[in-house]
Assembly symmetry: C2
Homo-oligomer: 154 residues x 2
Amino acid sequence: MNKTSKTWSLAIAATAALAAGPAAAQFKNPDAAIEYRQGALAVMDNHYDRIGAMVKGKAPFDASAALANAELVATLARLPWSAFIEGSDKGDTNARPEVWSQPDKFKADAQKLQDAAARLVEAARTGKPDALKAAFGATAETCKSCHDDFRKKH
Amino acid sequence: MNKTSKTWSLAIAATAALAAGPAAAQFKNPDAAIEYRQGALAVMDNHYDRIGAMVKGKAPFDASAALANAELVATLARLPWSAFIEGSDKGDTNARPEVWSQPDKFKADAQKLQDAAARLVEAARTGKPDALKAAFGATAETCKSCHDDFRKKH
């Protein structure tokens, strides 16, 4: 194991601890890890979009629903990262090799989303549509930035 | 709309309110709803299995990890049910037609899981492996019961 992959393994372990357990043996195989991270991202995306519908005026503003959705986004935002395990660069995944070759940058991007999601919850707690809209936009930037560098283009 | 499907629509609406928003327009299309519910169930299953590894002696007992996993199970257990929307009986799904033809029974089964997951969190809070094991087993029964009636056999 070279220094980079060792650093990444430690980073994965640290993130996984926050995500309820050590990374080792948390996934039956790489395909299960891919299913897990895609599942977490899909559910997160759905709840994020529900806030998006409010801030874009496509759905009525509902402060309690916004908060519930933001809390789900923040909870789910913690989860995918420990699932980018060794061997899960192959298979039914849109992850680019840079996830594994630029681990520090990937980890930093993952953290930016989690920080933005925490601020999204704070904004939702204010009950103010403008605050929610600003935090929603800031969160979207973290999604886009990470996807630009680490997700395959469709 | 016949009486049964109207009752089911109301049931979906009530569940969806708990899951952060009304059911209407929360999914782009039936395929997105299928992806969402399968994602939520896959992530839930993973965290449930992490508790399973502890209660089966395959992983060391870790009270804080058990609690974090149980809380994720309880959070995720609320989500799938609003995604069994009209039209999502077709496509890449293992849901049996009974989900839509026996809506009251399906809803009751979904509630049993949520109740069991809440007790799983309580058991994890005790920090006692025996309590966790008992609650884990009780939760497993709700999974099996619902799968027996509402999931296609593989």
